[in-house]
Amino acid sequence: MNERIEKLREQSLTAVNSLSAERGVLVTEFFKQPGISQLPPTMQRAKCFEYILVNKSICINDGELIVGERGPWPKATPTYPEICIHTMDDLDILNSREKVSFAVDEETRNAFRDEIIPFWEGKSNRERIMKILPGDWKDAYAAGVFTEFQEQRAPGHTVLGDKIYRQGMLDIIADIRSGIDRLKTSNEAGTPMESPGIEELEAMEVTARAMILFAERHADTLETLAVDAGPVRRKELLEMAAICRKVPAQKPDTFHEALQYYWFVHLGVIIELNPWDSFNPGRLDQHLFPFYQRELDNGTLDKEKAREILQSFWIKFNNHPSPPKVGVTAQESSTYTDFSLINVGGLTEDGDDAVNELSYLILEVIKEMRILQPSSMVQISKKNPDDFVMKALDIIKTGFGQPSCFNTDAIIQQLTRQGKSIKDARRGGASGCVETGAFGTECYILTGYFNFSKVLEITLNNGLDLRTGKQIGPETGDPAKFKDFDQVMDAFRRQIDHFISIKVKGSNIIEEVFAEKLPVPFLSILIDDCITNAKDYNSGGARYNTNYIQGVGTASVTDSLAALKYHVFDHGNKTMPEMMEALSSDFKGYEAFRYELLNNTPKYGNDDDYADELLKQVFEYYFSSVEGRKSPRGATYRINLLPTTSHIYFGSVIGAMPDGRKSGEPLSEGISPVQGADRYGPTAILNSAAKIDHLKTGGTLLNQKFTPSFLETEEGMDKVTRLIRSYFKMNGHHIQFNVVTAETLLEAQKEPEKHSDLIVRVAGYSDYFNDLGKDLQDEIIRRTEHEAF
């Protein structure tokens, strides 16, 4: 890494997270203007977007090659009062809390108190949806049966395809104009298409033009800065200004232009709304390769220059933390990393090995930069060379948790099973943590996590939630009277159905609110076929529409069911009332029994069919309950299995469970075994995990911890490569490695100041160990270490 990049990296690492009132104030000013409410909602949003881009401050950091910040300076993070309002109390907590704080200065506080809060109180989307969500939804939500992503965020969670590398905003505007003409003609011809189509397209055009203006403003500033700059930087600044005058208005022709164009678009998406910012360029090595190759051929670029521009691009992501939530105590997600997941490798749209020279260069950039964002992953198809996997392991073994490994061949089958064309499937990948998507053509929305173990607890109490004391599920029978284990499973299945119905009903209500009140015309011009369909992204304009519900605690619920079956029904060691008594006393006085539950009971993760068959059953219940339900915008509900950090929150709302877990303890994460339950090493875990039908999901998450010693030799690396290949042969979706020693982590807990650069895989993403809560830190330490035997 050269001096410039080292400096930029240092600046980014030391920049302090702060809360910025800029966006909130601009949005408030905009909506205070007379006449705004008479505009159609989509035009309101477009004009608001334009207002922000025209008025927000322009930030150019010293020495950088890619420009543009969402806030007034790096890590200055905006809020979205039209979605949810940060109260003065929230600001205090954000400012003072120990983990991932956001500095709030006096000026910001004043702006919130005097302008933002008074205007938006009663008008935010969060208040709007909370008013109309039904009582049963609220009860289940309060009990911790599920969460709701769109409560504090806008729908999003999509990834860009290759559109911007082929079209400038002016080309896109031409498409929009011809769409408008077509609609007008058909209206005149007496086959009226409803006017919202035209309104939507006109709003899209406003945002495309605003994006050009935004880039021009950067060009202006760059030219001004050039006046006083030294000769070397002056030349750079003028070149960058020229780039900003060209893109995004026109399509890019150079490597540098392509990346700058993307970055403007990225800012547009995360300024327009806060779509849980997994938005990212996706298949970066594929998109950039033609530019790279062309410029290498004609001598306008060399590998080192390309590396420097990529590294400068990388830093931009790291300058943008995810906007903090309101009601901050919620542990649902205790980390604030953005979830931009760069995909490297995989297959071309024709199905060929897509690994190219740039894939390797990007891997080198990931290794050198060693920063949290963007996150990265390698797509591994059976057609990709082992050498590529080994290069990825070479980074993984340095212990910073990136890149994670994904099975391209499984992803493509998942997408085609869902009805995507083979080409669109091959253009796809994974985003966020592990979520499968067709990049550039799909609106796939994560709607919330679903707490399997909570539903089992409710089942064992005949529909009653012990914590809130409310009867929130149907009466599926008193388990003490169950004659056989099938009755437990039947009751459990009915409760799952009940709560999935409530969850879907709520998500559908929220979806309609977003479609009506909060369209996203800018995001819509980026995702096909919103323009062709003259329909907003939030209203079903995308070619493919999917809503996911993420199941959490797969292993925990499996182990609890296995324990019930084993001890109560198959072996008669305990009666059901005795089991319930052990649970309600949190195993006090039942220590010997708990010992048996932990040590001598079939558990998931050991390639033991007794437990794993139950996992398959739970999976099938969940799958058949969710799959195929429809949303108002025409999306199909589907499942995936990932927790982010919700397994900790979900555990906190559940009492003791039959798997031996004590009250309040975290659940298992992703499809990984319960912490410490696996006794036979990685192959047994992978065999267990492969019994899930990954092809029926939109992503599963499997964490494996290795100590570095394991990957020290070429031979060790080769064996881990074979391990990955084997899992992927069995259609496993994803595996990621935490390569650290427990000792290191314990040290870091004691002396955090000495380990500030320690990054660990949390669950589908990496975070600084120091930024994690103690409970999450403890859990990562507990995860089984697979030392070589």
């Binding site: 195993f587 220590e591 010997a592 708990r594 010992y595 390639d607 036979y680 090493g681 990685p682 192959t683 047994a684 992978l686 065999n687 031979e715 060790g716 080769d718 064996k719 074979r722 391990l723 290949r725 084997s726 042969k729 069995m730 697979h786 070589a788 035997f789």
Partner: protein, 264 residues
């Protein structure tokens, strides 16, 4: 047919090529002082009682070491990692204890493995009859052959048996054409001096077909187990050889043309 085993290790990556599953037979005719697995020495399952403090409560737990398994069922169990074996050119490793101490079970499992195209390794002390040794050579793909000392009296003191049979069987094994790796546990205080190792090197040099030697430095790993299994721990005089000494020993064998690894 039954076999008594005391453990199965999956994802074993130091017991032969690729990703392997290793099955440990219980029972061994030798009783080496440095043995890491003292529980493997006596034949047949053994029951122990252990005190466990769990959740602040003292629990008395019965621990059974060793179990009888039906050979055919066990084979299916060992085959569970087949995908990994195929992908990595791995296989099944038979270790112990001494797998040749239960020859019929071993032969049957080697035969089944061959029928199913699974690569096998056998880890043996070589303390067996010539007929059995020849049969193992015929049925397995790779043999790890332990060699401890050329001095028969010393051998008898530290392992309980003289070394004549072992050396003769090693000659047979090397000539059989089956791939063989000689593994030398190097224990400071027993066999790490030139006077121990040079005769060994000379003997190995005289064997046709032997290409590889593994040097296994002694580590006091298994000592805590002795107390648990009520066995006398005689390792007090033993030490881990220095890294320098291990390098010298490696040199000694590699200079004679052997592919020599440390550990492995």
């Amino acid at each position: 047919m039954k076999v008594c085993i005391f453990d199965i290790k999956r994802f074993a990556i130091h017991d032969g090529p690729g990703i392997r599953t290793t099955v440990f037979f219980k029972g061994c005719p030798l009783e080496c002082w440095w043995c890491h697995n003292p529980e493997s020495i006596s034949a047949g399952p053994e029951l122990f009682t252990e005190d466990v403090i769990f959740d602040g409560v003292l629990l008395e737990k019965q621990v059974e070491v060793g179990r009888w398994e039906d050979v055919d069922i066990l084979m299916n169990e060992l085959e569970r990692d087949r995908v990994f074996m195929d992908e990595s050119n791995g296989g099944i490793s038979f270790s112990g204890g001494e797998p040749l101490h239960q020859p019929d079970a071993l032969f049957r499992m080697l035969k089944l493995s061959r029928e199913r195209n699974i690569h096998t390794t056998v880890d043996t002390s070589g303390y067996t009859t010539p007929e059995r040794m020849e049969k193992v050579c015929e049925l397995s793909d790779l043999i790890y052959y332990d060699l401890k000392s050329m001095n028969s009296e010393k051998h008898k003191t530290y392992t309980g048996v003289p070394n004549r049979k072992i050396l003769e069987n090693l000659e047979r094994t090397a000539e059989s054409g089956t791939e063989v790796v000689v593994r030398i546990p190097v224990v400071s205080g027993f066999n790490d001096l030139d006077q121990d190792l040079v005769p060994m090197r000379d003997f190995l040099r005289g064997l046709n077909g032997l290409k590889a030697v593994d040097i296994l430095p002694y580590h006091p790993f298994g000592t805590h187990k002795y107390k648990r299994f009520n066995k006398e721990n005689k390792q007090n005089g033993f030490k881990t050889p220095s890294e320098k000494r291990i390098a010298e020993i490696k040199q000694l064998f590699s200079d004679s043309g052997f592919r020599t690894r440390v550990g492995g």
